[in-house]
Amino acid sequence: MSEAAVETGLGQRTRRGMAVWAGAVFAFLYVPIIVLVIFSFNASSQVNIWGGFSVSWYGEALRNDAITSAIRVSLIVAAASTAVSVVIGTALALALHRHRFRGRRALDGTVYLPIVIPDITMAVMLLVFFAEAFKLIDSFGPRYTLGITTVTLSHVAFNISFVCVVVRARLDQFDRTLEEAARDLYATAWQTFRRVTLPLIMPGIAAGGLLALTLSLDDLVISAFVSGPGSTTLPVYVFGSIRRGVTPELNAISTLMLAASMTIVLAALAVQRRRASSSQQAQIL
């Protein structure tokens, strides 16, 4: 049963047409990326003329202080916001999934908002918030400005929600009889969590963490609004450069970002694959 195509009751010609269509869509999805990657190894400084293979633009990009600084900021923000949001988001997922408490419903609804609302609105909300907060703090003395801290705080604000949703999906599959079995076998509540619950929801936590990492590394709009001088993230830098035009250096740095994304996807798939069938990846609100 497993190796046959699913019989769907469609005609032979429709099926063949669909195969061609699928091929075309894959081409649509991949050709632009592949072309970009190929041209990042173009020796010529003319972006449209192939001048032979070279990795010189990568060297060029990595010697650019603005770029290395942006990479550093992006990595720091991503690491910090992922770490914080994984802890807070997992705790929240556990609370919402298995406890009834006052305010649970309101919290449950609020968690989904940062996922649903457009980036641009989240960005201006946080911009206004930091502006007002700084005004308030300034009146007490210390002066704060937008910087790496505000970017990180903002990333945590949306990542908590994503981690929470992913971990909850894992908790939904979790069989609580296993916890009862552990309790029955003399484990205390903490031992049960530590030795049974945590190992079993770990793939969900890891997937949530990887999603948070991806979202943080990819975020442009929010970072653009809440970063200040010296805290430019890589996407913000790249966005600014794209507005000025296409350059070989941009091709190279884009390819590096692609490679980073790809690594995370593969890691995420590996995590999922450990215990899951192929259909577990799909995503919905």
């Binding site: 069989d175 009889t177 296993l178 009862e180 079995a181 552990a182 309790r183 029955d184 076998l185 003399y186 484990a187 205390t188 031992q191 030795r195 049974v196 190992p199 079993l200």
Partner: protein
């Protein structure tokens, strides 16, 4: 000498989930070394009762003692009982050995004793060679054995089993029934198991408690339960039966709805409404129009009813007749009859021995 302390005493225990009363004021005593079954349809409260003994649910009221100690509110890790869960609840991220060692580890049993007891348990359930496998690599029967070993290795005073054989196919289930009984003899502790399968309960246990809608209806040996049900529910739930409404005419005599008088061992006052339970296999069927076999010489004190065959089901090893006798339909099951079964529409007389009549006064 005083009577030995019972293994489990459930005393007026009630469990509510919000407005739903899952277990309603149950009192039950289970002796040390007994193989006891809690039997009932799904949702009857049997699993909740088991879970309260295990400490996985806390009673809303009442008292629960294990070997004399009040444990009603104690957490599961402080009770001398272990559970074999339905669908086993084996830890999927641990090997067979790690699963079995889990309880010992939690109680910080020292290394040498732990490995010795684990080996013993593995040998007892015949899982040698499987120690390093994951539960997902085992068959259903093997998973069952791991679950048993994981519980028994802790040397509990009482073993609780929640539908232990429910996930197995028929053949394996019958094998495991024998094995469980043998295992219980071997370890000599109290086994309490929950099942909805009445045949399983009859085959395995020394005593059965039948539950319905949160109530404990009857407790007794398989024979008592089957032959002398005290309620319509128990009569109907255990095996198949014909339930016939009747009224007490006088001591020893009942009047059926069609006015016919039959004999029954009954002490209820005259006029009381009762029900008669007649097992299909205790009912004989005699064709009336044929020249042969009207009445049975070996049936001096039997009662009978006249009727017509309404339906015939041929089962191979048995034939089941539905006989319409006035307002009631009586099911009769004939095993070992050779030849052509009687046809639908045939006029027949059904008869039974007095001993086959169980009167229900509920």
């Amino acid at each position: 000498m005083a009577a030995p302390t019972p293994a489990v005493e459930i005393d007026g225990v009630t469990k509510r989930f919000g407005d739903v009363v899952a277990v309603d004021d149950i009192t039950l005593t289970i002796d040390d070394g007994e193989f006891f079954a809690l039997l009932g349809p799904s949702g009857c409260g049997k699993t909740t009762t088991l879970r309260m003994i295990a400490g996985l649910d806390l009673p809303s009221s009442g008292s629960l003692r294990i070997f004399g100690d009040e444990v009603g509110m104690a957490p599961p890790d402080r009770r001398p009982v272990n559970t074999v869960f339905q669908a086993y609840a084996l830890f999927p991220h641990m090997t067979v050995r790690q699963n079995i060692e889990f309880g010992l580890r939690m109680r910080r049993v020292n290394k040498s004793e732990m490995s010795q007891r684990t080996e013993q348990a593995i040998a007892m359930v015949r899982l040698a060679g499987m120690e390093e496998r994951r539960p997902s690599q085992l068959s259903g029967g093997q998973q069952q054995r791991v679950a048993l070993a994981r519980a028994l290795v802790n040397q509990p005073k009482v073993l609780l089993l929640d539908e232990p054989l429910g996930a197995l196919d028929l053949k394996l289930r019958q094998e495991m029934q024998q094995e469980l009984k043998a295992l219980q003899q071997q370890v000599g502790i109290t086994f309490i198991f929950v099942t909805h399968d009445q045949e399983e309960a009859l085959a395995m246990s020394e005593r059965i408690g039948v539950m319905s809608q949160g109530h404990l209806l009857q407790v007794g040996s398989p024979r008592e339960i089957y032959e002398h049900p005290t309620s319509r529910f128990v009569a109907d739930f255990i095996g198949r039966t014909n339930l016939i409404e009747a009224e007490v005419e006088s001591a020893g005599t009942l009047r059926l709805q069609n006015g016919k008088l039959i004999a029954a061992g009954i002490s209820a006052p005259s006029g009381a409404a009762v029900a008669v339970s007649l097992r299909p296999e205790h009912i004989r069927v005699h064709p009336r129009d044929a020249s042969a076999s009207r009445g049975d010489p070996g049936d001096p004190g039997g009662d009978s009813l006249d009727g017509t065959i309404a339906d015939v089901t041929y089962l191979g090893h048995a034939v089941v007749y539905s006989v319409a006798a006035g307002p009631t339909t009586i099911e009769a099951r004939r095993e070992g009859d050779l030849g052509e079964p009687l046809a639908v529409g045939a006029s027949v007389t059904v008869s039974w021995d007095h001993g086959a009549v169980a009167v229900i006064e509920d």
